[in-house]
């Protein structure tokens, strides 16, 4: 899908028309997601009834696979694309609603640990990706985009940094393609590695939140392991997302000092502009749940609403991933990204093991 790897352009469109344009794509997301849910329920039962050995495949994976098959065979027709692009909206709404399942004390406890791990991950990832970019003679701004994409939060971070450091469209397309392709790979490899290493839900959730770049893929990678792992992956990934403003500001100041980008005026306003507001929504819902604004049944209802929102997100992850388009972006940024991601995955796994030893998990 070409629009998945190019920087979105804002077109002036009437709000009512814009709303109508998203309907077909949202219906496609719902249909693919629901088909995934039906497949989870029925394929396992059918295999069991016929005494077949068949792995229990979760709706998350079915929805992603169905989306990938559509996107990479018949393609996503133009009429659906605007609506399919709303998967990021559903992801963020789902994360806010998921906040109802966290008590504030848990967030402060886990958030404190994850903040420390996130800081180490960001520093390690930026240093290593910068080193790799130099070794492979990538353009400096392309290296910056790849570093910020793998260190913080994937596509969103790349788009934010592109504007701040005045990078080329081509560089951001390369970086986004590499990060998306590697995120798709992580969906299939992380759960396998987690099971192979017998990681606990907590260790795996921490690892997925630290190492998988895009929020949608990190949520899906967590959900593929367990519900508890998904919750923790979302919390850790949200902590990473909250760092986006600081990292982008750092790069903006660096490139301005090199005379290759505009200097940043009001730094506080810059940080607020880049701060992901859904993290605040997540925290606020958690505060309300902690102080019993919702009863038990209502928390259950909000958790299910969050699941439905994630269902649309997972369908969107598959539908917007087109390997043909990614291949057109060239091999070198992908190779740099792949080497970087493997090293970052190993580094963050070591961090999780270390934290487990220190905190006695």
């Amino acid at each position: 899908m070409a629009d998945a790897i190019t920087v979105p352009q804002v077109q002036p469109v009437q709000p009512a028309l814009r709303f109508l344009r998203i309907i077909p794509g949202v219906l496609l997301l719902a249909a693919v997601g629901y088909a995934g849910k039906l497949l989870e329920q029925n394929v396992g039962a059918y295999a069991k009834a016929h005494h077949w050995t068949f792995p229990n495949i979760e709706y998350v994976l079915w929805a992603i696979i169905l989306g990938l098959v559509i996107s990479n065979t018949v393609g996503v027709p133009e009429i659906f694309r605007t609506g399919v692009a709303t998967y990021e909206f559903w992801l963020k709404a789902g994360i806010v609603l998921l906040g109802s399942r966290f008590l504030l004390g848990d967030i402060l406890k886990l958030g404190g640990v994850s903040l420390l791990l996130v800081a180490m991950e960001i520093a390690g990832a930026i240093a290593f990706m910068t080193f790799l970019g130099r070794v492979f003679h990538l353009k400096p701004k392309l290296t910056s985009l790849l570093a910020v994409g793998s260190a913080v939060c994937g596509v969103s971070a790349i788009i934010a940094t592109k504007g701040a450091i005045e990078a080329d469209d081509e560089d951001s397309s390369f970086s986004i393609a590499a990060i998306l392709a590697l995120g798709a790979l992580a969906l299939f490899t992380f759960p396998v590695i987690g099971h192979f290493l017998h990681l606990s839900d907590r260790a795996y959730g921490l690892w997925a939140g630290l190492a998988v770049d895009n929020t949608a893929e990190a949520t899906a990678a967590g959900a593929l392991y367990s519900d508890a792992a998904a919750k923790l992956a979302v919390l850790v990934k949200s902590t990473r997302n909250a760092m986006i403003g600081f990292v982008v500001l750092g790069y903006a100041i660096y490139w301005a000092s090199q005379g290759q980008a505009k200097s940043v005026g009001n730094k506080a306003a810059f940080l607020w502009q880049k701060f992901p507001k859904f993290v605040l929504g997540f925290l606020l819902i958690s505060v309300l749940a902690t102080y019993h604004f919702f009863n038990k049944e209502q928390v259950g209802a909000l958790a299910n609403l969050s699941r439905w929102a994630f269902l649309l997100t997972f369908a969107g992850v598959g539908l917007r991933t087109n390997f043909g388009d990614m291949r057109k972006q060239g091999l070198r940024p992908f190779v740099v990204g792949a080497i970087g991601e493997v090293v970052i995955a190993g580094f963050t796994l070591a961090l999780v093991y270390g934290a487990g030893k220190i905190f006695g998990w």
Binding site: P8, V10, P12, E88, F89, W90, L91, K92, A93, G94, V96, L97, S100, V155, S156, A157, I159, A160, I244, Q273, K274, P276, K277, F278, L280, G281, L284, I285, L288, F293, F294, E297, Q298, G300, A301, L302, N304, L305, R307, W308
Partner: protein, 43 residues
């Protein structure tokens, strides 16, 4: 982020970001659940 507050090309009207919309919709749903409009959400 893709979710910046942007001035429209044709006017000075400020648009809400994607993040803000997601938060508003999530809170609206949460309030509807709290008010008992949605009593049970099946999964």
């Amino acid at each position: 982020m893709s979710a910046e507050v942007e001035a429209g090309k044709t006017g000075r009207r400020r648009k809400l970001s994607l993040d803000t919309w997601a938060v508003l919709v999530a809170f609206l749903l949460a309030l509807l659940v709290r008010a008992g409009v949605f009593k049970h959400i099946p999964w």
